[in-house]
Every structure is written in C-alpha cells, then in structure tokens.
C-alpha cells in the first residue's frame, strides 16, 4: 500500500495553502499513511500547522539553518534521503514544487509526474499537456518511488482538525554551498491571495495602462476579490508578474472569475479551466473569451465598471 510523503511549502513561517491541496491528492491514492516534511531553519510553527491537516499521520520537522530559504539544490538531497521507505513523494505544482521535485526525481533516478490532476490508481494518473489541450493518462513503474507535482487547482484544500504527531528529524546529507539566496521582492497586498481566493478579477491589455488598472483594483475590492492579469498586462508593466494567470502563470480555480479586457488566448484559458463561473467583459463580441464564459457582456470596460460598482452599492 502507498506511503506518501508530502513536502510542505511555506513562506515567512506560515504554511502555504498549496500544501493542504497536495494532501487531498495524496488522499486520493488511498494510502496507508500520509506524512508531511517541513524543511526550515525553525520548522516548529509550520510543522504545528501541518499537523492540523486531517489525515496526516506524522510531520517530519527538519531544522537546519541552510533551509532558511527554499533553495532547491539545498533541499533536494534532504528530501531524497527522507524519501526512503515512501512509495510516493508529492509536492504542489507551484514554483516551489516545480523547482524542487525534478531534483528529487533525478537523485532517485526516477521519472516525474508533473501537474497530477486525477488519480486512477496508485501508479496511474491524469495530467495535462499542450497547455491543457490534451489530458493524458500516464502509468509510472510500480516498483519505483513516484515523484509527482500536484496541479493545485484540481484539488480542494484538505480539511483541518487532524492531530498528526510532530517529530524532529535530522537528515544526514551533504548540502551544496554554490547557491546564495539574495532576496525576494514580493508585491505587498492586503487583497486575497490569487491562488486561494474564491473570487478573482483579472485585467488584460484592454485595461490600457498601470493607472487604469486602479479601476480593476477598485472593482475587485468591491467584490472582495483577488486581482489577476493576462500576460500582456504583465508584459506591458501594468501589474507585477506574480499576478499572471495562465499556462506560465498561476493556474487557479476560484468560484467566480471575471476577465476584463482579456481576449481569451488558450494560454490564458489554461489557467482558469476549473473556475466555477467565468464572466467576461470585452468590447469585442467576437473575442474567444466568450466561447468559454458562462456570462458574457460586450461593452467598454471604462463605462461598464463604474456602472457595475454603482449597482453593487
């Protein structure tokens, strides 16, 4: 039977919601047990949070000053050691997991399953290719460790209320010193987090400028929504890169997604396939976004957004 090790993602002493989503995917393997590994300089707070996730047996807390920042080549040898005795090692398919998982797979000498979206059996999975335009069923060798990243938008957050045991673990691995972490420039925002928000309002090239994007922020705030963007809007400098939704940005599954001034290129649509309701506002009635929108409204965003805000008051 499967024994699953989930590698926790965390930032600033807080567990990332992607971890609980990864645990959901782990549960779908009907495993004998699910453990979570937390690698940090001081893992205690994150480990305590991880132990709360329902269905988690043990939390392996690996304290090491070298783990203060998530440097993949530093974490990988430790994860590869921890992987002993597990049938599956799973990480979220966030930039953290995408960076780290292949290193672990390479150390173990196994292929990696990227963006696992459904489990058909302990070694049979579904994953998207070609920007989600085809879904393949893949079979991993049954006698080798499975290393996988989990497409977080396909899985709900596992519930809280678990009572896993936290164990301090030391890992004996030689860690490289060839990589130095310099810093993180994070856009500060009081708005909901794009990857876990129930509502998301996104703007595209049609918004026209950084200044105009204020109208998107205002409308999002009115809805209590997170803000996203198309690649074109990011490339044009209207918003920072971490707001990009799509094949090469974030894959999200909010209950409500509002696309404003976004044409609906396949690379963008890849990021919102699992959204509950898609609303599109675009002045071009032939824009491809209307082919996937549940509710479409043709018109100029600069006229429509103030009207919508009025209606919402």
């Amino acid at each position: 039977m499967a024994k699953v090790l989930v590698i926790a993602e965390h930032l600033g002493g807080t567990l990332n919601a992607s971890t609980a989503r990864t645990v959901s995917a782990a549960q779908a393997l009907s495993p004998e047990s699910i453990d979570i590994a937390v690698l940090a300089a001081d893992p205690s707070a994150v480990a305590a949070e991880a132990a709360q996730i329902a269905g988690v047996a043990r939390v392996l807390a690996v304290a090491n000053a070298a783990n203060a920042q998530p440097v993949a080549q530093v974490l990988a040898p430790q994860v590869a050691k921890l992987a002993e005795g597990y049938s599956h090692v799973v990480l979220p398919s966030t930039t953290f997991g995408k960076d780290l998982a292949p290193c672990v797979a390479a150390l173990l000498g196994v292929a990696q399953v990227s963006d696992l979206m459904a489990v058909e059996g302990a070694h049979v999975f579904k994953r998207p290719i070609y920007a989600g335009n085809a879904i393949i069923t893949v079979e991993a060798p049954a006698d080798r460790t499975v290393v996988a990243t989990v497409r977080t938008a396909s899985w709900p957050e596992a519930a809280k209320g678990g009572g896993g045991a936290v164990e301090a673990v030391t890992v004996d691995a030689t860690l490289p010193t060839h990589t130095r972490y310099v810093g993180l420039a994070a856009g500060k925002s009081d708005r909901p987090d794009l990857q876990s928000a129930k509502r998301v309002v996104s703007g595209g090239r049609g918004v026209g400028s950084k200044e105009n994007f204020e109208t998107i922020y205002k409308f999002a705030d009115r809805l209590g929504a997170a803000v996203g963007a198309s690649r074109a809007a990011v490339d044009a400098g209207y918003v920072p890169n971490e707001l990009q939704v799509g094949q090469t940005g974030k894959i999200i599954a909010p209950e409500l997604y509002v696309a404003i001034g976004i044409s609906g290129a396949i690379q963008h649509l890849t990021g919102i396939k699992d959204a509950g309701t898609i609303v599109a506002i675009n002045k071009d009635g032939d824009a491809p976004i209307f082919e996937v929108a549940d509710i479409g409204l043709v018109g100029d965003l600069f006229t429509l957004l103030p009207e919508l805000e009025n209606q919402l008051q």
Binding site: D99, Y130, G132, R180, L184, D235, Q247, I295, N310
Partner: protein, 248 residues
C-alpha cells in the same frame, strides 16, 4: 565563456491541438513545428551575452529525429556558433533529455547551460532541474533577469510570491521565463550564413545514456469542455445573473 543552449522543436504555440479520436495521441501530421518559445528566449539570452563579449561561443543542442536538422539551422541562423544534433526516433522524456544533455556537458564543458523552463508540448518543467542535479551544479529556474560577473551569475526568478534573486557559482544551469528577453527575428542573409556553420550529428544510441524508468502514456483525451454560457446586455443584467447563481 561557453554557453550551451537546449533548443527543442515543438508544435507551434499558435496551433490548436487536436486529440486523435482513438485517444492514441494528438494530431501532429502536417502541423507547424517551431522552436519551443522558452528555448528561443534561452538562445537569445546566450547571444546577448556574446554580444556583450561575456560569452565567446554559443552552442545549440537538440535531441530529436533526423529531420530536426532544419530546426537547428534556425538556431544557427539566429546566431549560434555551432549546433549539436543528438539523433533519435524515440520520444524523449525529461530524465533522458537531462542525462543526454549531461553527456554533452561533459564533452563541451560549458560555463553556463540555458534551457527553457518548460517545453510547451509536454509542459513537464523538469529537464533543467534534473540536469543541474545530475551535474551537481547550481540551478536558477524561471529566470527573468540574468547577470554574469566574476564567475557568478545573479539571477532574478519569477516565483509565485514575486521576484526572487539568487547568486550562483558558475558553471550553472539557468531556465528561462518569458520576460527574460524578446528573441530577435532571423534575417534572410543569416539563413544563408547558417548553412556553412558546423553541425555535429551524434546518435543517441552511441552516447551510453542510462535508460530510465519511463512514464507510459496509455491514453489521450480532449479536456472537458465548458458549455457556452449566456450573454447579458448591460451591467444590471450581469449583476442579476450573478445573484441568480448565488455568487453575490
């Protein structure tokens, strides 16, 4: 400084992918093939480093069937000094790609290897990380800015939380994100010039690449379709429709 660029040929990003009705694959017959967009960015970055006289030589490499020679010629026309074609008819999964690239690294001793962050056919996002691991060298993935000085690379990375900066010792592996640069267009005279640039052909079977445990793809399916929705005529109707769905 020598730079090795992994340069894969994929179905062009503008092609609407069709899954074959029997689920055996996607339609690739008669479909336009192009350089993986991320690999074009990788090559462009290498060429810019050569333009700045930081790099002296740029080598493009691909692992693909024999007819991919034309694709490598495009890389030469864009400006690479040489090309290496590892010929195979087998589909190549990331671990094998990484093991093969490692053989080229051992042969060429580059100071920097630049790959795309993902190939837009398999969307695996693995090869660069696997290569760095097998090589025992640093990796800086998802790069949106790259600076080389004093035997080190300072790389800005696009991560979910924002922009992260790493400093890595060379040699190192860098994978590109879309905003690293905008690739130059190939000019006609350069296509002529590329014809006389060196292209080395190796057989994958001769390289002694360890074969791996592969993932077996058993079925292809089209994605679940979203049904076409309704059009509303104004702001008031939109609000009403959202309320009716219980979303407001």
């Amino acid at each position: 400084m020598k730079i090795l660029v992994a340069y894969k040929r994929v179905v062009d990003f503008n092609v609407r992918i069709q899954v074959k009705p029997d689920g055996s694959g996607v339609v690739t017959e008669g479909v336009k093939l192009s350089a993986n967009p991320f690999d074009e960015i990788a090559l462009e970055e290498a060429l810019r480093l050569r333009d700045k006289e930081i790099a002296t030589e740029v080598v493009v490499a691909t692992i693909a069937p024999a007819d991919a020679a034309a694709h490598l010629r495009n890389g030469l026309a864009m400006g690479a000094n040489r090309a290496i074609h590892v010929v195979t008819d087998q589909p190549i999964q990331p671990l094998t790609a990484a093991r093969t690239l490692l053989k080229l690294v051992e042969k060429e001793s580059p100071d920097l290897v630049i790959l795309g962050k993902q190939a837009i056919d398999d969307d695996a996002n693995q090869t660069g990380q696997m290569l760095a691991t097998l090589w025992g060298r640093p990796q800086a993935t998802f790069a949106s800015k790259l600076e080389i000085a004093d035997g080190k690379a300072t790389v800005t990375r696009e991560v979910d939380a924002g922009l992260e900066t790493l400093e890595v010792d060379l040699p190192a592996v860098v994978t590109t994100d879309l905003r690293l640069n905008e690739p130059r267009f190939i000019k006609l005279p350069d296509i002529m010039k590329a014809k006389s640039k060196p292209m080395e052909t190796l057989q994958l079977a001769d390289l002694g690449v360890e074969s791996g445990d592969f993932l077996k793809t058993t079925h292809h399916a089209p994605p679940a379709k979203r049904s076409k929705g309704v059009m509303v005529k104004d702001a008031a109707e939109l609000i009403a429709a959202l309320k009716q769905k219980g979303l407001l």
